[in-house]
Amino acid sequence: MDWIGITVAALRASVGPVAVAYALAGLGLNLQFGYAGLWNYGHVVAVAAGAYGAAIPLEAGATLMVGVLCGVAAALVVSLFLGVAALRLRLDYLAIATIAFGEIFRQVVRSNWAEPVTGGVFGIQQFARDFFDLNPISEGRYGWGDFSFDHRSLWLMIVGWTLIVIGVLAMYMLVHSPWGRTVRAIREDEQVARSLGKNVFFVRLQSFMIGSVFGAFAGVLLAFANNVNPDFYSLILTFWVYTALLIGGIGRVLGPVVGAVVFWFLFQWFDGFMQSSIAEGWYGNLLQTTDAGPFRFMLLGLILVLLVVLRPQGFFGDKDEALLDAS
């Protein structure tokens, strides 16, 4: 078996455009879930709003800047709407409401009714020309051996990792400010926060909307990387971002970034491993090549279980903090 080949492919995925998008989305989800304690299971809505919000005007001929701003604005509007409606609920209901909203959003954009604008089930293609026109890298592949990227991916990665650096710095300052302290205090006990004069609903709405902005940038990047397809933005995307967040460590600024890198490394590694081992006939007739897909998820799930048991705080978390009783 080509262990090196599998590992190199996994490394490539771990820093590639999709991992970058997951890291950005995770930064936002970490603010909402890790710091503010909001059970947002509809983070995919912010990602999709960013993607569609940018793709629709860009396809209609808007400039790149306008397109990106529209993507962010779309996520802000959607999260404002969802936040005003759902953040007054008890947090367990918030989880249910956001799950439902995520699915409603996807069903709406993929419906026949919305097809003239969103492209329905076909999505939107060929709108990122302006973005790739800005690419200073000339055509070709760059890298060492199999660890290489084409000029388009490389351009996405440069922009994406720059966004991550800015995002991490912005997030660090945010959560280490008095505002961030209030956000965390509300996570611990909202009644105490109210008894000390804090407007819990408003602070939650702020953190919810800021988290959505990060999701929107992830969505714009994914749209440039893969076009826009409604079924890409299904519920599972939210849970993958959660998985990455758990791996990296909840409530740590760098957690989602490390988590996304590790998540995509493992995901790709298990994929390569299952493909090769099945092809080499390790399991006889028990497994076919088509079984590789489901099995990589099982292995990923196993890692997640081990992680929760052995290192509940993730890579970066503080175990003492993670195990303190939240009540």
Partner: protein
Amino acid sequence: MPPEAMPVEATPLEATSAVLPAESRPGVSKPNPILTARGLVRSFGAFKAVDIQNLEIQQGVITALIGPNGAGKTTFFNLATGFDDTSEGSCWFQDQRITGLHNYQIARLGAVRTFQNTRALTRLTVMENMLFASQQQFGERLHRVYGAKWRRKEQKEKERARELLDRFALTHMADEFAGTLSGGQRKLLEMARALMAEPTMVLLDEPLAGVNPALGETILEHILALKAGGTTVLFIEHDMSAVRKVSDWVICLAEGRVIAEGTHGEVGQNQLVLDAYLGSTRGGMSDDE
């Protein structure tokens, strides 16, 4: 049987600048009231958990709220601080009608409460617990987070927090997570945190519940110190010896109504009060919940 009450000599009160009301009847009006309730009702169906015709809490004194279990003491607290919806009637804080305001708005006016079950913000450090409670945090507003100004202003708040932690003997724990504190330390932190908000009035819901006698004494001293510092105190307490020690005025609730008011001596001899306690809980005026 109630635990044997500690022998209590009539502790001389700290000099009260405020003049107590001349009469001792339920609903008596007082000089300089800070919190006023009129026709205040909280009903659950046909049952009225609180039904207070008239009640005034006097500024600058320590008032104890007593009454058997289910008398409506905590419900009254919840109504006065906006943590529950009033069915009828109103409350005023200073001269402002506060019924209908959000609980955080009432807190901003200066009426800060604590809860019966201690609530430390466990995954914040003790110092963060304190700083968070301040009403003077420049950097708490989102648009100022990226400025440099809040860091300078925060220093002042930190000093104030350190002084308070000192007073409550928590300085050595300042950088530990509040979740690592013992039950008693959490009680102290909760009080210190409430003071960090610089309230004009604190409403303490059973500050001595689950606290050992020595720590209880400490907390009572802190309550007296609050009054000395000009803060009005209203506290719910079951332990009559504690009530005797610190309170200038005692209000007894039973079945949602004010059945007696007066100094602890007067209320302690009031037949209605004795009936209310003995009639509803055999244990009498103890602290079991």
